[in-house]
């Protein structure tokens, strides 16, 4: 065994992944200064893209890495928006309200996790949906919201329209970057090793001493905070809050679509899926019912024939993971170019 261990190089960063990280840094800087040159329309659309990427990455964190398929994640989307309205109504700055609302969503999800994480598979999936429906009803009782009539984030009016647009854009960019970075670091940490072990086999992970429930809880809360932030940013750009449009299962359907098409359980796949969904929506969003039928049929098709999604197909052809979550094992002798990453050794 020792001899075997000696004959491999264990590396995490490859030249490719360093290059990719550098490119991502350049892209993020370019996006940060984009408002200087980009038109208002482009800025608005990019904000939408950031929200989609955030939603996809967070649903993927829960389902792809934690093995927790939820049909009720729109609960946190709605709560993020609702709590922003509630906090801003006390006179707090709207942007501070958004951040605080996301933190509160995290606390609520922590409390909820103590009951919900005991459920398995499909039971967890629909029980989350029931919880979302209950939250929706309870929010409707708040006199400030006036039932389905809804209300608006009026306090945003203190910012002039041009400033407001760029501030929301930056908020979206920051939220997306921060949560993706948090997820990336989490997956690379010791907890990340536990997460990947759980993803491959919950029983096996538990048998070698992984704290399954605690690890899932970390992902559950992270996903709730991210989706709560997404809801708050969506509210800021849409201004009006109608409970029905935020607490809509449509949002969860979008998340599922993005992750299924992009590639469930891969960090890059969720981002790819979100970008694709964004493009599809831009091109076919006006087709109404047929657009929705197409989305559902595509999700159905991928679940049956490409359960690993597009990134699953791309990843197989790459020598290394673009963003290293696992480790790369390469043969010590330089003549042997074969190498495999731990990322590729999945048994799902």
């Amino acid at each position: 065994m020792m001899k075997d261990a000696k004959s491999f190089n264990v590396t995490r960063w490859t030249p490719t992944s360093r290059l990719i990280l550098g490119l991502i840094a350049v892209l993020l800087i370019a996006l940060a200064i984009a408002p200087v040159v980009a038109s208002a329309g482009v800025i608005d659309r990019l904000t939408v893209l950031f929200v989609y990427i955030l939603l996809a990455a967070m649903w993927n964190a829960l389902a792809g890495f934690g093995g927790l398929v939820s049909i009720g994640q729109h609960m946190f989307f709605g709560l993020g928006a609702y709590l922003t309205i509630r906090l801003a109504n006390t006179g707090l700055d709207p942007f501070a309200s958004m951040a605080l609302a996301a933190a509160l969503v995290g606390m609520i999800s922590l409390a909820v996790s103590y009951l919900m994480l005991h459920l398995k598979g499909g039971e967890f999936a629909i029980a989350m949906w029931v919880l979302a429906a209950l939250t929706h009803r309870l929010v409707n009782l708040d006199p400030l919201i006036q039932g389905e009539t809804g209300t608006s984030l009026i306090s945003l009016n203190v910012y002039e329209i041009g400033v407001r647009r760029i501030a929301i854009y930056w908020a979206g960019l920051t939220a997306m970057t921060a949560l993706l970075a948090a997820l990336f670091l989490l997956l690379r940490s010791k907890t990340g090793a536990a997460i990947q072990a759980i993803r491959d086999s919950e029983e096996a992970a538990a048998s070698i001493g992984v704290n399954v429930l605690g690890t899932k809880r970390v992902l559950f809360v992270l996903a709730a905070v991210g989706i709560g932030l997404a809801g708050a940013i969506w509210l800021a750009s849409a201004i009006s809050f109608q409970p029905k449009t935020y607490f809509s299962v449509q949002w969860t359907a979008y998340m599922i679509f993005m992750v299924l098409v992009g590639g469930i359980g891969t960090f890059e796949g969720a981002i790819l899926g979100a970008v694709l969904f964004f493009l599809i929506e831009s091109w076919f969003g006006d087709a109404g019912v047929w657009y929705l039928i197409g989305l559902g049929a595509t999700a159905l098709f991928f679940s049956l024939f490409f359960p690993k999604g597009l990134w699953g197909a791309i990843e197989r052809r790459l020598p290394h993971a673009l963003l290293p979550i696992g480790y790369t094992l390469s043969d010590f002798s330089p003549q042997e170019p074969h190498s495999r990453t731990a990322n590729h050794q999945r048994s799902r």
């Binding site: 389902a63 093995g67 398929v69 049909i71 009951l115 005991h118 459920l119 598979g121 499909g122 039971e123 999936a125 629909i126 029980a127 949906w129 029931v130 919880l131 429906a133 209950l134 009803r137 309870l138 409707n140 009782l141 299962v249 359907a253 599922i256 299924l260 019912v289 047929w290 929705l292 039928i293 989305l295 559902g296 049929a297 999700a299 159905l300 679940s303 049956l304 359960p307 799902r348």
Partner: protein
């Protein structure tokens, strides 16, 4: 008060009726079918279409619609669930959710946004009632629904217990590979189970259409009611589903008494309370019982 109790119990019969197919599929196929609600609406629309276009009484229409539903169930298992179950236990959730989106929107495309009902096609059954001693009135349709639920649960239980097909279905549910070893065609047993589940969905869909109105997107709330009834009653237990449905309906009626918008909230809270009981109280009780047995000298 007594009146509300009786109405609640009868409404519970309806919830049990719509939950039977979901519970049956879960207990014998280990699949939670997220397209369950949408399929209820498919059956209701099919009956409405027959009644509206050809003047077919919905009860007679069932003779056409139920075989169709059985066919849909068979195809659902053969072409979707069988394949998706190979990808793990989580994938069928996504597959059936995708199916629900497709089915809902196709129905919207075909039938539009108007709400429909089967009530106009069943004569006075939709509104006439029995008078009970004490001046209480119970709707004939509600009683019929309640009796249908009991008959269906009893029928399914006997089918599972006493018939060769039932034995094959139960064996496949427990362990498909071993079932295959003893000569059971597991794929056929699962497809038959799915067909049976869809027949119960067809019956439930008929009553859904008779007791109220529906539209293309009415499936999702029905799925949640069915799921709540099934979970409260103990997932996978058919008689439990009946008790779960009654408990759900009583909680909703109680919620409506407390607050005008409390109907749904009451039901959802009852569901959460049942989950809480199952995972914290009941588990503790079982653990205590086992410990006390272990301590007892032999």
């Amino acid at each position: 008060m007594l009146n509300q109790l009786i109405q609640g119990i009868l409404l519970g019969g309806y919830y049990a009726l719509i939950a039977i197919g979901l519970s049956f599929m879960f207990s014998v196929m280990r699949v939670i079918n997220l397209a369950h609600g949408s399929l209820l609406i498919v059956a209701a629309y099919a009956l409405w279409f027959l009644a509206d276009t050809y003047g077919v009484n919905p009860f007679l229409g069932l003779l056409i619609v139920l075989p169709l539903m059985a066919g849909i169930g068979w195809a659902l298992q053969r072409f979707l669930l069988e394949r998706s179950a190979r990808g793990g236990s989580l994938l069928p959730i996504l597959t059936t959710f995708g199916l629900a989106i497709v089915v809902d929107n196709l129905m919207f495309q075909r039938f539009g946004a108007d709400t429909r009902s089967l009530a106009p096609f069943i004569g006075d059954l939709s509104w006439s009632s029995f008078e009970l001693p004490g001046g209480l009135f119970v709707g004939k349709l509600s009683v019929l629904i309640f009796l249908t639920a009991i008959l269906l649960v009893g029928g399914l239980q006997s089918l599972l217990k006493f018939t060769p097909l039932g034995r094959a279905i139960r064996a496949t549910a427990q362990d498909p590979d071993t079932a295959r070893l003893v000569g059971i065609d597991a794929a056929r047993a699962s497809a038959a189970a799915a067909a049976i589940a869809l027949v119960t969905i067809g019956i439930a869909g008929a009553f859904l259409g008779m007791r109220g109105v529906f539209d293309a997107y009415a499936g999702a709330p029905q799925l949640l009611f069915a799921f709540e009834a099934a979970v409260i009653g103990g997932t996978g237990s058919l008689w439990g589903t009946l008790i779960g449905g009654i408990f759900l309906a009583l909680a909703q009626s109680f919620g409506a008494m407390v607050h005008p918008q409390g109907f749904l909230i009451g039901g959802h809270l009852a569901f959460l309370a049942a989950l809480f009981y199952r995972h914290f109280v009941a588990r503790q009780l079982v653990a205590d019982w086992l410990r006390s047995r272990a301590r007892r000298p032999a």
